[in-house]
Symmetry: D3
Subunit: 328 residues, 6 copies
Amino acid sequence: MKKQMVGNLKVGDEVETQAVILELNRAAFTSAQRAGEFFLKLTLGDVSGRVKAVMWDPPAGDEAVTAGDVVFLRGTVNEYHGPQVVVSDLKKLDKTKVNRAFFQPVSERDIEEMAAELQAVIKEEIADTDLRTLLEAFFGEPEFMRRFSQAPAARTIHHNCVGGLLEHTLEVVALCRGLADLYPGGQINRDLLLAGAILHDIGKLEEYRQDSISFEFSDRGKLVGHISIGKEMLDQRLAGLPDFPADLKLELEHMLLTHHGQRDWGSPEVPKTVNAFALFHADLVSARMNQFTGIMKNHPEGGGDWTEWDRFLERSIYMGRAGEERED
Amino acid sequence: MKKQMVGNLKVGDEVETQAVILELNRAAFTSAQRAGEFFLKLTLGDVSGRVKAVMWDPPAGDEAVTAGDVVFLRGTVNEYHGPQVVVSDLKKLDKTKVNRAFFQPVSERDIEEMAAELQAVIKEEIADTDLRTLLEAFFGEPEFMRRFSQAPAARTIHHNCVGGLLEHTLEVVALCRGLADLYPGGQINRDLLLAGAILHDIGKLEEYRQDSISFEFSDRGKLVGHISIGKEMLDQRLAGLPDFPADLKLELEHMLLTHHGQRDWGSPEVPKTVNAFALFHADLVSARMNQFTGIMKNHPEGGGDWTEWDRFLERSIYMGRAGEERED
Amino acid sequence: MKKQMVGNLKVGDEVETQAVILELNRAAFTSAQRAGEFFLKLTLGDVSGRVKAVMWDPPAGDEAVTAGDVVFLRGTVNEYHGPQVVVSDLKKLDKTKVNRAFFQPVSERDIEEMAAELQAVIKEEIADTDLRTLLEAFFGEPEFMRRFSQAPAARTIHHNCVGGLLEHTLEVVALCRGLADLYPGGQINRDLLLAGAILHDIGKLEEYRQDSISFEFSDRGKLVGHISIGKEMLDQRLAGLPDFPADLKLELEHMLLTHHGQRDWGSPEVPKTVNAFALFHADLVSARMNQFTGIMKNHPEGGGDWTEWDRFLERSIYMGRAGEERED
Amino acid sequence: MKKQMVGNLKVGDEVETQAVILELNRAAFTSAQRAGEFFLKLTLGDVSGRVKAVMWDPPAGDEAVTAGDVVFLRGTVNEYHGPQVVVSDLKKLDKTKVNRAFFQPVSERDIEEMAAELQAVIKEEIADTDLRTLLEAFFGEPEFMRRFSQAPAARTIHHNCVGGLLEHTLEVVALCRGLADLYPGGQINRDLLLAGAILHDIGKLEEYRQDSISFEFSDRGKLVGHISIGKEMLDQRLAGLPDFPADLKLELEHMLLTHHGQRDWGSPEVPKTVNAFALFHADLVSARMNQFTGIMKNHPEGGGDWTEWDRFLERSIYMGRAGEERED
Amino acid sequence: MKKQMVGNLKVGDEVETQAVILELNRAAFTSAQRAGEFFLKLTLGDVSGRVKAVMWDPPAGDEAVTAGDVVFLRGTVNEYHGPQVVVSDLKKLDKTKVNRAFFQPVSERDIEEMAAELQAVIKEEIADTDLRTLLEAFFGEPEFMRRFSQAPAARTIHHNCVGGLLEHTLEVVALCRGLADLYPGGQINRDLLLAGAILHDIGKLEEYRQDSISFEFSDRGKLVGHISIGKEMLDQRLAGLPDFPADLKLELEHMLLTHHGQRDWGSPEVPKTVNAFALFHADLVSARMNQFTGIMKNHPEGGGDWTEWDRFLERSIYMGRAGEERED
Amino acid sequence: MKKQMVGNLKVGDEVETQAVILELNRAAFTSAQRAGEFFLKLTLGDVSGRVKAVMWDPPAGDEAVTAGDVVFLRGTVNEYHGPQVVVSDLKKLDKTKVNRAFFQPVSERDIEEMAAELQAVIKEEIADTDLRTLLEAFFGEPEFMRRFSQAPAARTIHHNCVGGLLEHTLEVVALCRGLADLYPGGQINRDLLLAGAILHDIGKLEEYRQDSISFEFSDRGKLVGHISIGKEMLDQRLAGLPDFPADLKLELEHMLLTHHGQRDWGSPEVPKTVNAFALFHADLVSARMNQFTGIMKNHPEGGGDWTEWDRFLERSIYMGRAGEERED
């Protein structure tokens, strides 16, 4: 059955589709005859947007639902300060079995293709045997590769989609490759820089709740953070490679820990090697360019020359496209 | 033989003692007959202070000395912009065999006594079996305990002495105990708080070069930092305790990572649990009170009511002791 | 008559109780027949919470009411976007005669007990005669003691309740006592430190409007501030103690002025004596620990592991209680 | 006898003059025959500058001198890395009796004239009886007026000279008068603004040590600060004027406390009345313009178009005088 | 016909007036019979305030209206969460022909009078021929003078009204004149300072859209900014005065570029000449005093002693007028 | 004649070479027989370093020398706290005729080659006719190209050498090219981005004194700054291209003005177009990578694993080259 997208529902539509419960409030009836009973006020979502809903006779006990659940529902859309679904029927689904593409935005680039590109970088560009062995210990493991390919790179700001981490990682690799070309003075260790680029955000795999359809942070993500988790994952993997050189380990740890570049941006130390310094700048440029172009992509057609104020970038963006219209 | 203290050397003294080479510069002779030869300009130190020295015919080859070496030397003190030792003879010593008390300031409190106090806290105050087992895994190991007892707590600012880490740790334990008493609402987990207090600075053991007589940072200390090293030491130790509860592990990791309280003070995350928050404040108060009272201790008798400007605290301190003289 | 708590009112209830008017707006009727007349939209409050209300025929002239008034009211609760009291009858009460416990949260600790504890500190712990005399000049005066016992310690953040100032003061005393024990080097003057702890916030007595049931700031509180008011109160009291030593006066003034620790936190100077420095840290720890545990107390049962975002602490707090459930 | 200015001493000069001892170090002889004896290394100063000096047989016991003393000395100038006075004879003078103009820079404007101008402002411009009475209570007292006329306005940055406080006060009065003219909307209370301008820095009288020839801060100045001292002086004076209106008192207190404009500039509160806000800006402009023009005045003739870097203003100043040379 | 002011409309009024469309949203009908059609939700404004409006049958095609348009409208006011105009008829007007005084606040001072005052400053106070010639090249041009007289000085904070730029410019001139009087040491070049004051904000003429009735920024205003636009206008004008001295040009450019005083306030360089430094302070004081007194002017009669919190000044303002009531 | 490099001079050498006078002080003789006469203390420099010098009988009148002059000198090197040239003969040279390569460091890359590369970018990569015409108007002018090729990119931090501007510009072009490749979404206008990269620092040509052998700032450089000078140069050039599209002009102006990215880094506006945003990041990365690798290049062989503290980067850099030694 084709999915009805909640962002397209109109007053009068009959609804029979899947959705994720984004918000759920239990509200008491005020009429005397239903005193002590409750109904549900819901916000339902999928990749197309969100819609309000109400359910007068919600399921209880084992069948009760909660925020974060994915459900199958039946109902009708009526008007109540905009469209609102009156839900007649609601059934919790097994989150691990639903089609995530209904609920999570997916990278514009093909995930398979990106995964292959990353594997090629490891195989073809990393000449150093120790580093390549380490990378293969991670990315040669199918389950690791699967999770890495599904993870987002960030919750709200940049690369927030399935495949986002992969896309961001490839961008950082490309930027690091460019820097290695541009500064050929022998200071940068190209293999080390690319390896650091590939590994820098591995901690993101545990920063998000795997079971969350809406990319929520895990408790560990909030209490430990992807930088320290990443270093821990590196240490664990290296524990299985006893011959890995200590100096390379030290540089890689330093690169992972310092890739945010400044203490107040979450790195416990600042980059003190040229490879860590280059990685930090590549990560910064990737994150910031995506933030900027992401705002442009979200700007509606016909929305005028200026985007809404963005509180992270602290500016509106000018969309005027000088020179372009004349080219055809 | 009794050690001659370099801080007490006077013009005319014959010198025959041990010292650490704090600075060493090779300087070329300008006279024609010694063209191409070098002499040494040195700064020698021990726990009493520092003195300039010069050596016209320095040892070479295997016997050459470098900054950081501990040496036995013979010479005479003459005047050259203040006292200067003209060294006639110089021999490198095995740093691991010298009496460190000659070269490193030692905590005012007795180290044995402090070590016993810490063991008592672990044995008598930590009721939680998991936490006590973990602490004993660290502090029950004699080599760990020896290194912990010798380590300084900081390079330049507070508790900068042998035993400093032990002294600081006990202060933080005492302050945490006080906070647990003061906030009995059941929010603070006393055992966890004390365990965190005991463990919070274990990473300091590897932040300093063990072979350095003047508490120099190790490369790892500078590239990884004691906060991340501490978390790593905790992870390694817990790998040997497979039944340790995951929730306690998460809280302890969080406490270690956040004990500097703010990102720009070097913690990759801020304290988000009440135990981590209490630990941060206890650590802060111990560090700051020691900084302040340390400046007062260094203020010379008869140096007036105001100390020198301190660039870390950004103030001079008023030494006037109101009310005290009247009490006798 | 037992007070009906406004936080518990339900649709259909008959109301006959006291409340404070938190907000009051006069609104014009839009129907022709009542053109030129006004009705009242109100927010009513007490210690249990707040409720909307409407009054169609409000009292006028001398009997008119305004925000901040405490009133006796009669009415019925109906539903209008949630419960709303339709007020039929409303009478202003003499604010000084109502039971403040109905309108202001009260410290969890017993006020009498805390007052006795404070008196005991003055009597038993302050050996210095001058300091004890000064403290008794303040706290031996029943009216001062009464006001001190009723005052809150802060408007919105910590210790915001009747008795809050007393509770906060005792916490700061306890923390200072701990610091005096921990740093026995003779630098801290214990009597002076405890006296400063007891006096540090006396200016709070005039920072709040005495007649305000909702802890509003007085004009003087906003224009002069509790730090400068406190110094002024100290100066006035000392004017009556001509033999009080000048050096103790200077230290106490300095402690009161600097107890916020930094200029941008409202202290016109930074602490430059060890007693002022210790007091600042004790005050900081008390304020911050209360802020943190206060958020935890307000977190609803079943509200999940994470509290709402707190804009003062700039974080959510993790409520997970590691290790605790296993202890029973 | 005419004063020899130390800034003009040349090698070979015989010296017989007064000077203030800016720095004094006791140094041990290194020769055997004078072992245990000391000589003095001095820096001597007067309003013209400073010069090094040495004294081989310094006075001892009651006649010993210390930094801050004003002395009469005899000696000869020889060359030792520049001119150095070899002092043969040295006698402490009574600081209160020397001609301060030898040692302290004096305002370029005539002090008598400025004092008269200030009195005229009080008499002729302050129409409000209460305010005029208050001002006369201060400035009608000859001793207060004498001290006010002698005080500097700042230690190192602006108006650092005898009469500096008077000069600065008149500038602030003039700027406030201009603001009252420019904003005639009835918001500014001209009498109150001028009174605040006259009183804003009275605390400076006790911020400097009266006995110090080099404008050193007093202990109270450093521990309490001129802002809180000023408020205290105002309170004391008002205690003798029981009919002074409470609302005027509140505004004046607010103006004194907030005239630095921001908390991190030392005001415990920010200006919240238009009079306090205007006063802050007038004070700021006077201080900053004097800082800037002071650097220009100190720039030597022929020193080029750019001054030295100024670390307070964080810039060099361009002295180029566009347009001026063409005007004659 | 007299304009009906939208801020005064009451339920039941018949409306026949001009207004500017501040906001416009097209909304779909939800009833079946009008499916696919739209109605307009509007916010209409004029200088008196704003009002909601709805139009069920909006004009289409060439007669369609959009936000920013000025319209003539007919309708009736009914009640829908407050007054709402039901518009029956709506016609776009030629914005350049409407009476701007209906839509834009106008300076309290008479614009003709201010313009004459500015011309007099140029003619009578600027003795330097080059500078006067330059100023006349700008202000002698009627179109420039017309636009200068109509421009606001700022979008939201100070002098936001027709004539605001002129009023602000005269204030800055007056403040600079006062500074030139106060610092007669020959450092300030009075003619240059006044010329800079007159010219400092000329870039504002192109920072706002000329066709906007609500002072919206132009694209150039947002992308280039009035500081750089002002420098460009100066350069263009000077290109027509080939004999203008290069040193004066350099100083004027510097003054225009640096009049915001700090980099983070938008000046690409800091003031490095005394004239630029004085101009910056005069501009600052004018802007800040207007901000402050503007908040006071907007405070409603009977609104109590304290204004609303102002997020730019980060404070509430105390309106209490000490001393004033006693003066009559 | 081959140039003797001052950095290589040794005690006893006879000197006959060119040098630039970096510092010059006139000092008075202290001996009676030469009273009133002066000698010169000099610091002489060339690209190899600097050396002290003294000249007892300096040339006077028209032949007098000053700091910044390039001279031909004869003398001998003796020892005075290190080598010092006793100058017997000194003659000012025409700065425009000397071989600048003796006095100014030169880019490691060949200038001709870089110039050709830049011309190729303009000719081959810029498809937009308007932009290419503009770039050719600048870089097709031989004098402009000569100056552009000789200019440094920065005074002290990065690319401080002849050809530095060219080298930096090509790096920024390369980084922008990489960003255009990486973000092919159609948002970036590649031609515009590359044109902005080529033009972004043209203002540097007038930021430095052309006649200065040591890259000193010009007065205009300090008072106007290269950002505003660059915009002015662009405006002037565009004045000669009347058909240049206004939208492209606006974008280019915006790119030049905002390429420092933040107000406190000297840009009067922040980047609000994607092209300006990309250019800022490319410029930042080029500047920062050069700063970092420059410190590494200056680190002496055998200087240990850590560089000196760098006050701009606020860190020492770790030189350890993990993985590299194993590769051969």
